[in-house]
């Protein structure tokens, strides 16, 4: 049994996938423990949780203290002494008094990032260790786990991670108390174990949009399309190409991170959008048809002849208002859909059969509403597979191999083929240890490979290799 859970703004969607798909929608007000209690079945649980993270960022502003160790090169404000060079050697050490003085000016959370820390994390670790006197561990984020070279990108990612790390840590504990082994669903549509999500929670961003994309593809089998997901507060457009969502670099506070996430466009109107003379981009509660006090887009659909929920209760708005607000919704969404220039739409979300066909008509596109359209997001989470990226740096001169920012002793390096095979095996073993199905780790993609000799005094003294391998996101072999 594959269980997928997508925590949304108001409700949590749960899908259980074996030979058939069953789903439930539970209000978030119940709390995580109660929601998990509704499942009560053994199986592999995966959780998508981007909406609660958005709420943290939308909440009261957090003061992120940022301590940077840039060393020689471009200038950065908030820098302290200390430098790692491109080989991963400490060439300037940290001044502990300076670190302590910097830490005495406290923020709410702390981000620590050093240039080339992905080749040697020791300076970042030293600062983080001293910071434990000032911050609890879950409020400190460091950059070396991110693995990739791109200091400004890692700074932006680490600052974002500092803000949401505590929330993700708590969530992981809460879910872990009910389901010992579970996965988080990422914004690139893959799964990771909770300890990795806690280290780099930025990868959880946009996971709801990624869930919709993967679920819509799994349920419809359509590889090239635009998924139109009609939710309560928003309508999201997610392009699919080759059965995979299109990826882009995540931007946080106007700064580019090193995290990639699905490209998705969010239009601020959905089934619960308030009608107050006209359609408003706000949600105050359920539609009247579902026990709310004030009319929404869902009630407008009922007035025009749809039978959704307690349709009779929706009659509080006049037919002319209903047609006007629907017209506004259709024209806004159709305009946005037309910009994508696609030939086929796949509709998902509870209201998809009522709204998406008209959008298709207006944009001259084909439309498919797949089975289980109302829980495509949770299905997407359920049928995803473990996806890991491994950044490896071999340096035989230093006798070190660094995997995702963590150095290990390198005893024997071997030729290029041996290096590549070792990286593939490492990422496979990590995925299996995390609980991946063995069939899902057979294909390892090589994203980059570069190897060269280090020459000192006209002799080859060492060899260096930089490798990035990945088990790509996708649908697990366990999915029926």
């Amino acid at each position: 049994m594959l269980i997928g859970m997508d925590v949304g703004g108001t409700n949590t969607d749960i899908a259980m996938v074996d030979d058939e798909v069953t789903s439930v929608k539970v209000p978030n007000t119940l709390g995580v423990r109660q929601v998990l209690g509704r499942i009560r079945r053994p199986g592999r649980l995966a959780v998508s949780t981007s909406t609660p993270l958005n709420r943290v960022l939308a909440g009261p502003p957090m003061k992120v203290q940022t301590i940077l160790i840039p060393g020689p090169g471009l200038s950065w404000p908030g820098s302290i002494r200390g430098a790692i060079n491109h080989r991963g050697e400490v060439v300037e050490s940290i001044d502990r008094e300076e670190v302590d003085a910097a830490l005495s000016v406290r923020g709410d959370v702390l981000a620590v990032a050093g240039k080339f820390s992905v080749r040697n994390p020791s300076l970042e670790q030293e600062v983080a260790a001293r910071a434990l006197h000032h911050y609890p561990e879950e409020k400190i984020a460091v950059s070396h786990h991110l693995g990739a070279l791109n200091f400004p990108g890692r700074v932006a990612t680490t600052r974002l991670n500092a803000k949401i790390r505590e929330t993700v840590t708590l969530l992981a504990k809460e879910i872990g108390a009910e389901y010992r082994d579970f996965f988080f669903f990422k914004g690139d549509a893959g799964l990771i174990p909770p300890d990795q999500a806690v280290r780099n929670p930025s990868v959880l961003y946009r996971s709801s949009a990624a869930a919709v994309a993967l679920g819509a593809f799994y349920l419809s089998g359509i590889a090239e399309c635009l998924v139109v997901d009609v939710g309560g507060t928003t309508t999201d457009l997610v392009p699919l190409s080759g059965g995979r969502p299109v990826m882009e670099t995540l931007v946080s506070d106007n700064e580019r991170t090193v995290t990639t996430a699905v490209a998705a466009q969010s239009i601020p109107y959905g089934g619960d959008s308030l009608i107050e003379g006209r359609l408003c981009p706000t949600r105050v509660g359920n539609a009247i048809a579902f026990g709310g006090d004030r009319p929404t887009l869902t009630d407008a659909l009922n007035v025009t002849g749809c039978g959704i929920g307690d349709a009779a209760a929706s009659r509080k708005i006049t037919p002319s208002t209903a047609f006007e607000v629907l017209e506004e919704y259709y024209s806004r969404v159709s305009r946005a859909v037309a910009m994508h220039g696609v030939r086929r739409l796949v509709g998902s979300g509870y209201l998809a059969p009522f709204l998406v066909p008209e959008i298709a008509r207006r944009t001259g596109t084909f439309v498919t509403i797949p089975p289980h359209w109302d829980c495509a997001n949770a299905v997407g989470v359920a049928i995803s597979r473990v996806s890991l990226t491994l950044h490896a740096r071999f340096d035989s001169g230093r006798g070190v191999v660094v995997f995702n920012g963590e150095p290990q002793e390198l005893r024997k390096m071997g030729d290029e083929e041996a290096v590549l095979e070792r990286c593939k095996e490492e990422v496979r073993q990590r995925a299996l240890a995390a609980g991946a199905d063995p069939r899902d780790v057979e294909d390892v993609e090589v994203l980059s490979f570069h190897a060269y000799d280090v020459i000192r005094g006209a002799y080859r003294s060492a060899r260096i290799a930089d490798v990035v391998v990945q088990i790509a996101p996708g649908i697990t072999a366990e999915a029926p």
Partner: protein, 359 residues
């Protein structure tokens, strides 16, 4: 866009032999540094991927007999001199390097970028019309210069600051008054040419300016030469484009040379060149990588400084790690500056009949 970086992953692959000074490792640390600084992802910087230069573009500089020789030797490997052998597949690598210089120039001419840096390998400035030499096969900067002249740029000023005299480039433009060739280089040193008396011939007389400097020459002297020779010449020549043969082997850590320029010195020198280009030719400046063999200790810092200066970024933290200080002190020769001034005076005297700024 302010600055274009031209780079191709194949620039990391060319290698005459695994131990050769001009090897894969040379650019690898620089690319690491540039990537880590986020410059491949910077709002002021655009990344361009070059294509191989067309045969015709190379043929504007090199004789057909030499190009055919390279083509033949590239099939199974060959030999030019003890520094310069021909590994299989060389012609394609060399054309891609020349193509990088062309791509950089096209970006600057079309306005895609104000200035551009082609991080190419193999280098080019020792290559003459009929032969390669000193790690060079095709003269990238000369091929680029002829290419832009074909596109309507009339006067090009070349500043060759590689530690070795750009003898190939000098020879190609020696009698051509449309190209002002200026070079600062260690002297006496490989390749042996580059004295203050070599000032061009025929119509090109007065359009070659060599600034030989002794071992141990540092930042102060380079800036002196820029201010007292290069800038006045440039103002009077009034180029439509400034091209820089950017050899990073003047750095005090370079194992093949004996100069003492720092990363910051390089960056400030490029900043002056950028300002000069802005004053004289709408900012059009193309830098093409030449030598530089302090692959690990120097190149990452110097190349970063050059790019930062081209993009107009803050240069205050462009430096080497602190532990390098003793190295710099050992490389500097305090008596060098007096000799530099002496040579500069001789050069100005030699050029005074041709340039009113030196009268």
């Amino acid at each position: 866009m302010r600055t274009a970086l031209v780079f191709h992953p194949r620039y990391l692959l060319h290698e005459q032999s695994r131990e050769h000074p001009e090897r894969r490792e040379r650019l690898s640390y620089t690319i690491d540094q540039v990537r880590e600084e986020g410059l491949f992802d910077h709002p002021l910087i655009t990344n361009l991927t070059p294509a191989e230069a067309p045969w015709d573009a190379a043929a504007r500089v090199h004789i057909p007999e030499y190009l055919h020789f390279l083509e033949e030797a590239s099939k199974k490997g060959g030999f030019i001199d003890f520094d310069t052998s021909i590994p299989p597949g060389l012609l394609s690598s060399a054309l891609l390097a020349a193509g990088g210089a062309i791509r950089a120039a096209d970006a600057v001419i079309s306005g895609e970028a104000v200035n551009a840096f082609a991080l190419v390998r193999p280098p080019g400035h020792h290559a003459r019309p009929g032969t390669g030499a000193g790690f060079c096969y095709l003269n990238n900067i000369a091929i680029m210069t002829r290419h832009v002249q074909e596109k309507g740029i009339r006067r090009v000023m070349i500043l060759d600051w590689d530690a070795h005299h750009g003898d190939g480039t000098q020879q190609i433009f020696y009698d051509d008054p449309s190209v002002l060739f200026t070079s600062i280089h260690q002297w006496p040193f490989y390749p042996g040419s580059g004295s203050v008396d070599e000032i061009g011939s025929g119509d090109g007389e007065g359009f070659t300016a060599n600034m030989p400097v002794p071992a141990g020459t540092g930042d102060e002297s380079y800036h002196y030469l820029f201010d007292c020779v290069i800038a006045p010449l440039a103002r009077e020549f009034s180029p439509d484009l400034i091209a820089i043969s950017a050899g990073q082997d003047n750095h005090f850590t370079d194992p093949l040379t004996g100069l003492a320029l720092t990363a910051r010195g390089y960056a400030e020198l490029m900043k002056k060149a950028v300002l000069l280009a802005e004053t004289l030719c709408g900012g059009r400046l193309v830098a093409v990588l030449e030598g530089g063999y302090s692959v690990e200790g120097g190149l990452p810092y110097t190349n970063l400084g050059i790019i930062a200066a081209m993009a107009g970024l803050d240069l205050s933290n462009i430096r080497e790690p602190e532990a390098y200080h003793g190295w710099l002190v050992r490389a500097m020769d305090p008596s060098a500056h007096a000799k530099v001034k002496e040579h500069a005076a001789a050069l100005r005297a030699n050029l005074s009949p041709y340039w009113s700024c030196f009268e």
